[in-house]
């Protein structure tokens, strides 16, 4: 529970890697925003990185496919791969289920 409390105290930092406006990327952005709006109530940062524009940024995060959602903070880093259409899976991965 402590962890849970501890975690909830830290502001959620998310980073979504996409490829231009490829279909799954567009869908992933829309899904990510909807989930954050609904479940995190503004206590979060969602950064969207277009790998086509910034290929080097993905390198540091070990990105190998897009779209990939990365939970940067709180640790541990978690990644969700795909277009984020399964909301429960996304929340589970973010530790907010």
């Amino acid at each position: 529970m402590a962890t849970k409390t501890e975690l909830s105290d830290v502001k959620l930092q998310l980073r979504l890697y996409v490829a231009g406006n490829a279909p799954n990327s567009v869908r992933a952005i829309a899904n990510a925003r909807a989930i954050c709006e609904e479940h995190f109530n503004g206590s979060h940062d969602l950064e969207i990185v277009d790998l086509l524009d910034h290929p080097v940024r993905g390198l540091a995060d070990g990105i190998i496919v897009t779209p990939t959602l990365l939970k940067v903070m709180p640790l541990p880093v978690q990644r969700v791969i795909g277009n984020l259409s399964d909301t429960s899976q996304v929340l589970l991965a973010l530790g907010r289920a």
Binding site: A19, L51, V65, T66, I81
Partner: protein, 687 residues
């Protein structure tokens, strides 16, 4: 957590979970891009697939858009067909699976011909080695039809240069082939026609500067090779005789402009100097827009027709002169008969006057002048008879058997004025039968040959030169020769002397038509006119004529007068000419009883009335009732007198008279006649 190669169990589990999620996302189609592990750049998956799909579709559309008339495919270097444009398959009634994955040479298209298949196999093997091929070949299309295809096989190489694919393609050329064949056939037909017509056919550029076609007849007419005309098109006009050139140039200048066709006749000179007449017709050819695209034309050799026309004109002129001469002869003969009869009467009267002193004086004074007058009259008679020979006989047909010697005699007399101061005339008349000819025509021929012979000799050396005329029989032909001792005809022109307009005489002396006409006249009656000549020695013209089958026309042959031996007879003389009547009466009245009447009707009345006559001398041509009418009437009213009739003829026969004389076995005597001849003939009837 440590960095490095060692991963904690937790890390490993996370990595595995991530990998698993990644694969799951990939499989469920949720991945857009994969980061290339070397370049670290994202590669868009869906877009790449879409692009590939689109470009594949574009390629297929292009290939299929080629339609059924062009085949394009793709195959392995071994020749296994991987792709082919669908419309071509559909056109042959094939499904893709019928051909895809199969050896190309085993497919439907090639299956009919082992040769084609073998050739294709060899071509594929060459293509697999990198060698492209292209050839026309026949393949099988739908419904067992065959189509001609322009086939090509190209190797496709990868970046290392290895042949990875082969691209077969084929374009249907059946229509092109048909068009080519039709064009070739049409071209062949044109050449066949154009090359074989006797006229020259030509095609030239609108400015006349190029010769696009000229038929080989040009060589025959111009006597020059066609090739030189292709290389030097303007040479054409070089051979037009200078007098005609401006006229021809003017005509063609208008053809180059807006005159749609021209028709011009002109003369050309051949390399051997011969002049030929040609008629040239030219036409403009315009395209649909009305632009002048070429000029075409036909050139006809009109030399022969012109010659014939000229010959006809000359021989017509000669014929009308002949008709005129015959008329004149007739007009002269009647008064001449009277002159001769009266002269004869006077000299005989003088001779029978007895030994009276005044008679002796008269005889001494007038005997010689009378003799001279008689001789002169006799000469007039011969001249008139010669004239008649050159007149045209009615139908202008052979007049039966003709005595060539008599005609030659007449001809030499007519030409005597040309001969006498140039040569001595030598005659060698062999005994020959009559020939089948027309007197007047044959007379023209002989006269022409004699005059030519005379004109070949210089004037004033008559004793050194000779003109020889001869007749002889050779088999079934009578040979008449006219030779001279003139300068002879050079071999290079002897072949042309029978050509019309060919003359060696100065302008104005000869028309150049004489020998041409002679040749035609002789040929027309089945004879032959040939020439032999030696330069410096002289020339011989030889006329070979067919012997007549029918006997010579019956002309009363004069019998020498045996004076004072006949019995006295009763003679009826019928002639519309008073002078002739008087003359004949004077000739005969001492020996016979002479009844002279001026009209046949009157004579007929006498005969019908029962008068007896031993001889009826009747003129043939009389104005009211002719001798022929008289003869016919007589056969009705007094047939027993028919064989007593002797006709007197004066010349100019009508067609009817000619026919009458040849059909009626009647004796006739030609005016003017010598009294002695007349008396002798009458005596025969009294015996």
């Amino acid at each position: 957590m440590t960095t490095g190669a060692v991963l904690s169990t937790r890390d490993l589990a996370q990595r595995l979970a991530e990998a698993e999620a990644t694969i799951e996302a990939l499989l469920s189609g949720q991945i857009d891009a994969v980061v290339d592990s070397k370049s670290h750049t994202p590669v868009l998956l869906a877009q790449a697939q879409e692009e590939l799909r689109r470009s594949q579709k574009r390629l297929r559309d292009i290939i299929d858009g080629l339609g059924p008339s062009m085949f394009v495919g793709l195959m392995t270097p071994a020749g296994i067909l991987l792709e082919a444009n669908r419309p071509v398959l559909a056109a042959a009634g094939l499904q893709p699976e019928d051909v895809m994955g199969k050896l190309f040479e085993d497919t439907y298209w090639w299956s009919f011909s082992p040769e084609s298949r073998a050739r294709l196999r060899a071509t594929i093997e060459r293509a697999a080695r990198g060698e492209a091929s292209r050839y026309d070949v026949q393949v099988r299309a739908a419904h067992g039809e065959f189509i001609d295809v322009d086939f090509s096989l190209q190797p496709l190489r990868d970046e290392t240069g290895a042949v990875v694919f082969l691209v077969p393609s084929g374009t249907i050329i059946t229509e092109r082939k048909q068009t080519e064949n039709a064009l070739r056939e049409s071209n062949e037909n044109f050449h066949h026609l154009a090359d074989n017509i006797t006229d020259v056919f030509w095609i030239r550029s609108p400015d006349m500067r190029d010769v696009q076609y000229i038929s080989p007849a040009y060589e025959r007419i111009w006597g020059r090779p066609v090739n030189t005309l292709y290389s030097q098109p303007l040479q054409w006009t070089d051979h037009i005789v200078p007098e005609d050139r401006a006229r021809v140039d003017a005509a063609f200048a208008t053809l180059k402009g807006d005159v749609p066709n021209i028709d011009v006749e002109y003369r050309i000179a051949r390399p051997d100097g011969e002049i030929r007449w040609v008629r040239s017709r030219g036409f403009q050819v315009r395209d649909a827009a009305g632009t002048l695209i070429r000029l075409i034309g036909i050139i006809t050799d009109t030399t022969e027709p012109r010659n014939l026309q000229a010959q006809l004109m000359v021989s017509d002129r000669m014929a009308s002169v002949g008709t005129l001469a015959a008329g004149v002869a007739h007009e002269i003969n009647n008064p001449l008969a009277a002159v001769m009869a009266n002269l004869e009467f006077m000299s005989e009267s003088l001779a029978t006057m007895g030994p009276h002193p005044s008679a002796t004086w008269l005889l001494g004074e007038f005997k010689e002048p009378l003799e001279e007058a008689r001789e002169a009259a006799q000469m007039v008679r011969l001249i008139v008879r010669d004239l008649k020979i050159f007149s045209r006989s009615p139908a202008d047909e052979p007049t039966g058997a003709v005595d060539v010697k008599a005609i030659m005699e007449s001809s030499t007399r007519m030409a005597w004025n040309e001969i006498r101061h140039r040569a001595q005339l030598v005659k060698h008349y062999g005994v020959v039968p009559g020939v089948k000819a027309n007197e007047a025509r044959l007379g023209q021929v002989f006269l022409n040959l004699i005059v030519n012979a005379a004109q070949a000799l210089p004037e004033g050396r008559a004793e050194h030169n000779e003109i020889c005329v001869s007749t002889r029989l050779e088999g079934k032909r009578v040979i008449v020769e006219v030779s001279d001792t003139g300068s002879g005809i050079p071999p290079e022109i002897i072949g042309r002397i029978f050509d019309a307009f060919f003359t060696t005489k100065p302008v104005g002396v000869g028309t150049g038509l004489g020998l041409a006409i002679c040749h035609r006249l002789v040929t027309d009656i089945g004879g032959e006119l040939t020439v032999q000549s030696e330069v410096g020695r002289g020339t011989t013209f030889r006329v070979a004529l067919p012997v007549a089958e029918e006997p010579e026309s019956k002309v009363a042959q004069p019998v020498e007068h045996v004076p004072g031996t006949g019995r006295r007879g009763r003679i009826l003389v019928v002639d519309d000419e008073q002078l002739v009547l008087q003359g004949v009466k004077r000739m005969l009245f001492k020996e016979h009883e002479v009844v002279a009447v001026r009209a046949a009707a009157e004579a007929l009345a006498l005969c019908a009335g029962g008068d007896k006559f031993d001889v009826i001398l009747c003129d043939l041509m009389m104005p009211d009732m002719t001798g022929m009418d008289f003869h016919e009437e007589l056969s009705r009213v007094a047939p027993h007198l028919l064989d007593r009739v002797i006709f007197m003829t004066g010349g100019a026969f009508t067609a009817r008279a000619q026919q009458f004389l040849s059909e009626t076995p009647k004796e006739h005597i030609e005016k003017p006649f010598r009294p002695a001849n007349l008396r002798a003939i009458i005596q025969r009837y009294l015996r």
